[in-house]
Symmetry: C2
Subunit: 151 residues, 2 copies
DNA sequence: TTAGATTTGAGAAATATTAACAATTCAAAA
DNA sequence: TTTTGAATTGTTAATATTTCTCAAATCTAA
């Protein structure tokens, strides 16, 4: 479950930050599409439908703020854009940077964090490297595309 | 072991590409520092000591070519630069995009590919996603920094 | 040596993101 | 509600990496 509007307001106030229309709308756009990975420009386009006077710089600034508050995550698909997606407040840690990227259909999805735990403990045991965060991208062919291929 | 100069020449000829001084020097710079992760600008600076007349665009073009030939790998540390490192011809697959990034000293190192296998087979078994490539970055504190901290 | 295609160098162009700064907006106090 | 001061915003310019353009140079096969 993503963060609620009222929780967000409370969080801003706690940090001494102001609750602005722009901040609410940017978060809302991201919260509306938990499965998508939007670029700043895409967020800007969507925000403009509700708030035509918003500036692109404000989107960049707000996205930066939301990252710092750990309400959203970033993903870089190496296509020249940084993308953003709403985080999941159910998880204790908001580091959900592990994605499956289908080379056929382009779909980006996440997989369960616990699948990474073996890898991380393995690295710690073998190399003494204490893992605190990760960004994992696995490229390949998703189930859907595999099945369509077979037909 | 990285690719040899003569192998590279042969590979270029096989593909109908020309063997140029610039291509040889760029590969050499990368081969000299298998542990480093150089930006295009850094490669350019080093190449210029042997070849002062080279252009930056040529470095970008050559690096692109070397990527396509799978002689080098790219890594993006999200600091605004794409970085390149020589690949390892010993491995059958040249996808060595798995790195440990120390948040204390900034060192970037690689870990053995076989540690990833469990993760990849797990994803395949659980989700039907056939993994063909990966880019894995684990952030944390390396052994060196952990030990220095303790002193 | 020649010829033709590829490659290069230099600088312009493209493009994502950040910085600067005056104008606006928010929120606490009067 | 009004006031007030600081935070935030919008606009535009700036920054910086990477790509594009094109004439000149270079490579390779004949």
């Amino acid at each position: 479950m993503a963060i609620e509007r009222e929780e967000f307001k409370k969080l801003l106030k706690e940090k001494g930050l102001k609750v602005t229309r722009q901040r609410l709308v940017v978060l809302e756009v991201l919260a509306e599409s938990p499965e998508e990975h939007l670029t700043a420009e895409e967020i800007y386009e969507r925000v403009k439908t509700e708030n035509p006077d918003i500036g692109l710089a404000t989107v960049y600034r707000t996205v930066q703020l939301l990252l710092e508050l750990e309400l959203i995550d970033r993903i870089n698909l190496d296509d020249g854009f940084v993308r953003y997606e709403i985080g999941d407040t159910q998880e204790n840690e908001h580091h959900r940077h592990h994605h499956l990227i289908c080379l056929r259909c382009g779909r980006v999805s996440a997989f369960q964090k616990d699948m990474l735990e073996a890898l991380e403990t393995g690295v710690e045991a073998a190399l003494g490297f204490r893992v605190t965060d990760h960004e994992v991208k696995l490229y390949g062919i998703c189930r859907n595309c595999s099945e369509q291929e077979r037909i």
